[in-house]
Amino acid sequence: MKGSLSIFNSKYTVLFNLISLLIIISASDYIVGRFLKNYYFKQKAGVYYSTTYSLQEADQDIMIYGSSRALRHYSPAIISAGLGMSCYNAGRDGQGIFYVEAVIKAQLKRYTPKIALIDLHEEMFKYGHEKIDRLSCLLPYFDSQPEIRPIILKRSKFERIKLLSNVYPYNSMILTIAKNNFAKAGDHYGYMPLSRKMRPSELPPPPKKTKTFDKSSINPDTIKSLETICNMLKTHDVKVVLLISPYFGGSQDPDMKEIVKAHAMEWSVSFFDFSGDENIMQDYRYWADRIHMNNDGAMAYSKKINRVLSQIY
């Protein structure tokens, strides 16, 4: 009798301990998660703020989308002055076409820009898990932006389970959130210029042209995503311009450009290839590294964009 009673008691102890542990973990997760969320959306500067602004507040006539190359190569101030329309740069470091799709989906729910400039990077269309993984920057918007959920859920089949946590959406962000809550608000309309200039001593060797183009390296989902973007924008009467900005020393993957060009024609959208622009690609003073132009390069390039766009629109 005494033995069975102790087993009975020990079972309840186990159950009690497990339940109390779950309660403490859930409560801690809720408190820390709410704290992080509060300060995340209080930011008025930095890359997280730029994403929040792009998704939830931006209302400019011209929107620039893309990866770090879009973010560093297009000056909204110059484009805005040249075309007489407001402009915002919604590019983001390390992102690809799925991020662009998410931003555009969220924006079209709210408002319709007049012109969409989408900067395409050759690597955007290639397989690479990290591109999906980097969509973690959209996790804070999972609750508030239902239209982008399918894109966020591409990350993994267990993403919904992970999102049961209130802390998880702000994973690895705490230091940046803390820093940006003290930072001065930016006034570059999303554009984040690079000041660094490449030195002649660190000039990279000229890029090797890919001998045989491997079509299997292209992720068809990325092409489909770009098609979805173009169709969505066209449905809303947004003028779509696909662009490839310059690379130092010229393009590394000319075949990829041909594919994008062919698709642009098929989808009836404008396509401009500046990847081999002679004036910019050869002048190392315009470059921070082989992929990214510095502020001087971005200014020169943005002026060129203005000339082209003003002829069309």
Partner: protein, 474 residues
């Protein structure tokens, strides 16, 4: 299936629940099925290799046990060794052997190409082949009776908690546990969960975070200078430790929940005061495997000093080769062997210790630092992608320190935080385990908040990309 994936945390509770619900006599079948499912969720076809190793060694184990002729027993043992090693040679070392032979023949002006198999390295191949070999060698040495139950033997080869990255168990320890009737033990269950939690912290918060910086630097060494290589190497030492020790903690914890006791694999290695001690604390299941099945049969400590020196260098060179099919690993093993030889020779010079009259604490700190330094110098050869990168990195480290590359300041600070946490944990366990109690505190509320803090830290700072464990490639 990775230990740091959601899939594993769905899989494990199901297995645990079924394990305690079904009768004891069917449990081996459940664990065997679960183990194969666990392995086959990666690449189903490679389960055939485990089946091959299992069947061959089951038959040869029986033959060794039942044979009276010592000559025949030896033949069967060698067949077992050859069968296991041939699997390793074909699937792990074929390219390495081919390239080495080509280079040797080119020296004599003979040029030819040996085609490589070009297959993906089967996960855990070095672990389960060594574990299986330990069984046949134990049977040959009459340390272990033959295992007649094919299902139990198959489970010994493929037991999922330690299948892909150890600890490399011994038949004398693990096989009898499959016959024991395990009842649910709350204390063991709790201890298992604690280990899993700590393992996840080491893997996700420390190892995977450090990997971001380390991979960047060693991936393109031409972009960095000596100071960056020093930092990246120290980061890598903690990365590889936390990656592997984290995996081991999860493995031991998972087995503990099921009532099984796996051997300890790490014992705070960076607090070792000599290389000899380091190898008693680092990857213990591998170092003891080489000790028991290679070093002792070669004569152990009972041979002449010159032969002992040769044996140590030979064993550690093979230990290096076990880690991977590249000269970087071989050289790394040799460096450790040479280090152990030098250490013994120096310790045999009685006056050496009196050259500098350290007090005891200073001597401990100095010894720990010197051991860690030697370990890191060896890692500068272990981590680079090839020998030429290793030479470049070492050359740059000793000739041009240059600027320190930080990369993302946030990632760098998280990395330092992770390292500090691991050092604090190891120091606590080594010297203050009785004084500071968190997981074992008598107050439930402190225990619960300790668990919750680790969970929140993992959610807040862990890397959730389900990164591979480094030792899977070995």
């Amino acid at each position: 299936m990775l230990f740091n994936s959601i899939a594993y945390f769905i899989f494990l509770p199901i297995v645990v629940l079924l394990f305690y619900v079904i009768p004891h006599k069917y449990r081996w079948a459940l664990l065997l099925g679960a183990s194969y499912y666990f392995y086959m969720s990666w690449r189903p076809e490679y389960a055939l290799l485990i089946i091959f190793v299992t069947v061959v060694n089951y038959i040869l184990g029986k033959k060794i046990y039942n044979s009276d002729s010592s000559k025949k027993r030896k033949v069967y043992l060698w067949l077992s060794i050859i069968s296991c090693l041939s699997v390793l040679v074909v699937f792990k070392y074929d390219k390495f052997i081919g390239e080495t032979l080509q280079s040797v023949f080119q020296l004599f002006g003979v040029g030819f190409t040996i085609p490589a198999l070009d297959v993906i390295l089967p996960v855990g191949i070095s672990f389960y082949t060594f574990q299986t070999l330990s069984y046949t060698i134990d049977v040959y040495n009459k340390k272990k009776a033959v295992e007649n139950h094919f299902g139990i033997f198959s489970l010994y080869v493929s037991f999922f908690p330690q299948l892909v990255a150890g600890p490399i168990e011994r038949s004398t320890r693990l096989l009898p546990q499959f016959y024991q009737k395990h009842t649910f033990d709350y204390q063991q269950f709790r201890h298992g969960l604690q280990l899993i939690l700590i393992g996840l912290f080491k893997k996700m918060v420390v190892a995977d975070r450090l990997a971001i910086y380390v991979d960047q630097v060693f991936g393109s060494p031409q972009n960095y200078d000596g100071l960056t290589f020093i930092v990246a190497t120290v980061f890598f030492s903690f990365q590889v430790y936390c990656d592997f020790a984290g995996y081991t903690d999860i493995a031991i914890g998972s087995a503990k929940i099921l009532g099984f006791d796996l051997m300890q694999n790490f014992k705070r290695p960076f607090l070792a005061q000599s290389l000899t001690e380091l190898w008693r604390r680092w990857h213990i299941s591998l170092s003891t495997w080489f000790r028991d099945y290679l070093y002792i049969p070669l004569g152990g400590n009972r041979v002449h000093l010159s032969k002992w020196c040769w044996n140590i260098v030979f064993v550690f060179t093979l230990c290096g080769l076990w880690h991977g099919a590249d000269w970087t690993f071989v050289l790394w093993g040799t460096i450790h062997g040479v280090g152990l030889v030098v250490e013994r020779l120096l310790s045999s010079i009685k006056t050496f210790g009196r050259v500098i009259d350290f007090n005891r604490k200073t001597k401990h700190v100095f010894s720990i630092f010197a051991t860690f330094l030697y370990f890191n110098i060896a890692l500068m050869i272990f981590r680079p992608n090839n020998i030429s990168d290793a030479i470049y990195i070492i050359n740059k480290t000793f000739t041009h320190w240059g600027e320190l590359y930080i990369g993302s300041p946030a990632v760098f600070i998280y990395s330092l935080f992770g390292i500090l946490c691991v050092i604090a944990l190891d120091v606590k366990q080594e010297w203050f385990d009785d004084k500071i109690k968190l997981f074992h505190n008598k107050h439930m509320i402190i225990r619960q908040f300790s668990y919750a803090s680790i969970v929140i830290l993992i959610l807040m700072l862990g890397v959730f990309d389900e990164g591979q464990f480094i030792y899977f490639q070995f």
